[in-house]
């Protein structure tokens, strides 16, 4: 029974990390106008920034720069800054492009970045990665209890991402993002600067995905280039489509539903031969869910809903 609970806690923690990524993606692609197929770039940049700043200096058999052993909170802040700055740098040339071209460039950039992680050994220790990374508050609780602490931290991160994206979504800036998503030419006639607004929303999404990268590192306690393949971008997109693109709740629920579909099969005790089969089925199961959702509920489990405002007439204002 305890094993089942620990497995559930582990899945919830991973779900919270995906939830942060889904909220970031929903901000730029659901609320905003950016079809980003490179969300994994910022996840990776945030994770590597955190590791390179907080990890101890490289051992003899390792090769990576920095390794300053800085406090974790500095790494957390730096991961967000790095995600935001990376988005700015990518956005400078790409936000001039139309949606489809932006999508292709972001996909390509994510792959370029992954190749950098893998091949620039002096920077990242290459494909060997960096192992045995420290987790926060590790020494405060017994080892068996630490999963709960990590879950609490991940939920805290998720709550932060929720608060940021929700606040932006309801603001005039959020409405400008939506207007650009819906019709750029008309939005321009409202005085909205497409590049400026897109850049800012892209940077916030990059910063949040960078933060998610830190939680990804805390979850796995290691970092290798293989964690940042394009699969992750597609998984996050799948989660968002399942949950409901353009809806905060949808983004959140989609992440957990995705993890349930994708990782719950791991818990089943089967022979080694069957385990291989089930592993292959995991992605197929997500694909099946995606097909069913798109066929029967294309807006997702929680589709976007019309926004209403509390007080509209003088009478309503008085009542409020």
């Amino acid at each position: 029974m305890e094993g089942l609970i620990l497995f559930a806690v582990s899945m919830l923690t991973l779900g919270a990390v995906y939830g942060m990524l889904c909220l970031a993606l929903n901000l730029e692609s659901g609320l905003g106008p950016l079809w980003d197929l490179g969300i994994v770039s910022f996840f990776g940049i945030g994770a590597y920034t955190y590791v390179l700043l907080t990890a101890p200096p490289a051992a003899d058999h390792q090769s990576y720069i920095f390794g300053f052993g800085l406090p974790m909170w500095i790494g957390v802040v730096a991961s967000m800054v790095a995600g935001g700055v990376a988005a700015w740098l990518i956005g400078l040339p790409t936000l001039k492009l139309k949606r489809e071209y932006f999508l292709i460039v972001t996909l390509a950039f994510a792959e370029v970045i992954r190749q950098v992680y893998a091949n620039e050994e002096w920077l990242t220790n290459g494909v060997a990665g960096i192992y045995g990374l420290q987790q926060p508050l590790r020494s405060t609780v017994p080892a068996m209890q630490y999963s709960y602490v990590l879950l609490a931290l991940a939920l805290l991160g998720l709550a932060f991402a929720w608060a940021v994206t929700r606040s932006i979504g309801a603001s005039p800036f959020g409405r400008a993002c939506k207007a650009l998503r819906e019709n750029e030419a008309l939005a321009i006639t409202a005085g909205i600067d497409p590049r400026g607004v897109s850049m800012r929303v892209y940077m916030v999404a990059g910063a949040l995905a960078g933060l998610a990268g830190v939680f990804g590192v805390w979850y796995t306690t290691l970092i290798i280039p293989g964690q940042f393949e394009a699969d992750l971008t597609f998984f996050v997109w799948a989660a968002l489509i399942i949950g409901g693109i353009g809806n905060q709740r949808g983004a959140l629920i989609g992440a957990f539903v995705f993890i349930l579909l994708h990782d719950a099969l791991r818990f089943i005790q089967v022979s080694g031969e069957w385990a291989v089969t089930l592993t292959s089925l995991r992605t197929a199961l997500v694909g099946l869910a995606l097909i069913l959702i798109l066929r029967f509920r294309p807006e997702g489990l929680f589709g976007e809903r019309p926004v209403t405002f509390a007080q509209r007439t003088p009478q309503e204002a008085e009542r409020a």
């Binding site: 606040s167 959020g174 019309p306």
Partner: protein, 268 residues
């Protein structure tokens, strides 16, 4: 208020706008007519910043705007519409209004905050929607509006921006006569409130009824300018609309043309 001087715009070898000069004084309703391909919308695009002129200058309230981005021009108070009525489909009617409001215009430079829209802004939006018969539709998505409602929303939305100059691109196209009457009423009403208009349309009855002054374009050039009745009766303009046959009809075509268009309007 608006001055376009010697404006040129070419697409490859095609001169869409050829040495056009045009002036719109504050408080006037000015029309721009011409057949398809005359260059009216191209000129609109140049003035509103959606296309960059090859040569020439455009000033709005004394300031050069010909090198500004369209969004910056809109922020100066020059708001345009498009031939096909547009909205933000998956935003509510009220949200559409707020996007154009001065409140959103001032507050959107902040990333977050301001999620509670001030009561007076909401009330202004609702009052304006009420004027245009859309108050009951405030909470539905714009994609669920009927075409005439979308037309009305265009005006209501533009009012939220409190524009100085509204450039309407074929507002009467594909619109039934009852709605045209309503459009005329709203345009005149808005003019009374200080809004200046530059209107492109093919419907000469509508132009004659609403505009005090008209420019006629052909092949990218201005071929006539003056009071609306005078321009619509201009032989060059008549020839433009009904062809060379008009020349051979001893003036009868002119009479027939003007009366027909004043009664029925010339549709595209």
């Amino acid at each position: 208020m608006l001055e376009a001087s010697a404006v040129h715009l070419s697409y490859g070898g095609l001169r869409a706008v050829d040495n056009v000069s045009l002036s719109v004084e504050a408080g006037r309703i000015v029309g721009l007519i011409g057949t398809n391909g005359a260059g009216k919308t191209s000129l609109f695009n140049v003035i509103s910043g959606f296309a960059r002129a090859d040569r020439g200058t455009i000033t709005f309230e004394g300031a050069r705007i010909d090198s500004e981005h369209a969004s910056a021009i809109a922020r100066r108070g020059l708001v345009r519409t498009f031939q096909t009525p547009l909205g933000f489909p998956r935003m509510t009617v009220l949200e559409n209004m707020l996007v154009f409001s001065r409140h959103d215009g001032k507050a959107r430079h902040r990333l977050a905050g301001g999620s509670r829209v001030p009561d007076d802004v909401l009330q202004e939006a609702m009052r304006t929607l009420d004027e245009f018969g859309l108050a009951a539709r405030a909470d539905i998505w714009v994609q669920d509006l009927a075409a005439p409602e979308l037309k009305m929303l265009e005006f209501a939305r533009a009012m939220m921006a409190q524009p100085k100059l509204m450039m309407l691109d074929e507002p009467a196209a594909g619109v039934n006569p009852a709605l045209i009457e309503s459009l005329v009423r709203h345009i005149k009403d808005l003019r009374e409130r200080g809004v200046t208009f530059l209107i492109v349309d093919h419907n000469l009855k509508f132009i004659a009824e609403v505009c005090e002054e008209v420019y006629a374009m052909a092949d990218g050039r201005i071929i006539a300018h003056g009071p609306s009745a005078e321009v619509i009766a201009n032989p060059d303009v008549i020839r433009l609309y009904i062809g060379e046959a008009a020349d051979k009809a001893d003036g009868r075509a002119e009479q027939s043309f003007t009366s027909t268009n004043h009664e029925q309007g010339v549709q595209q």
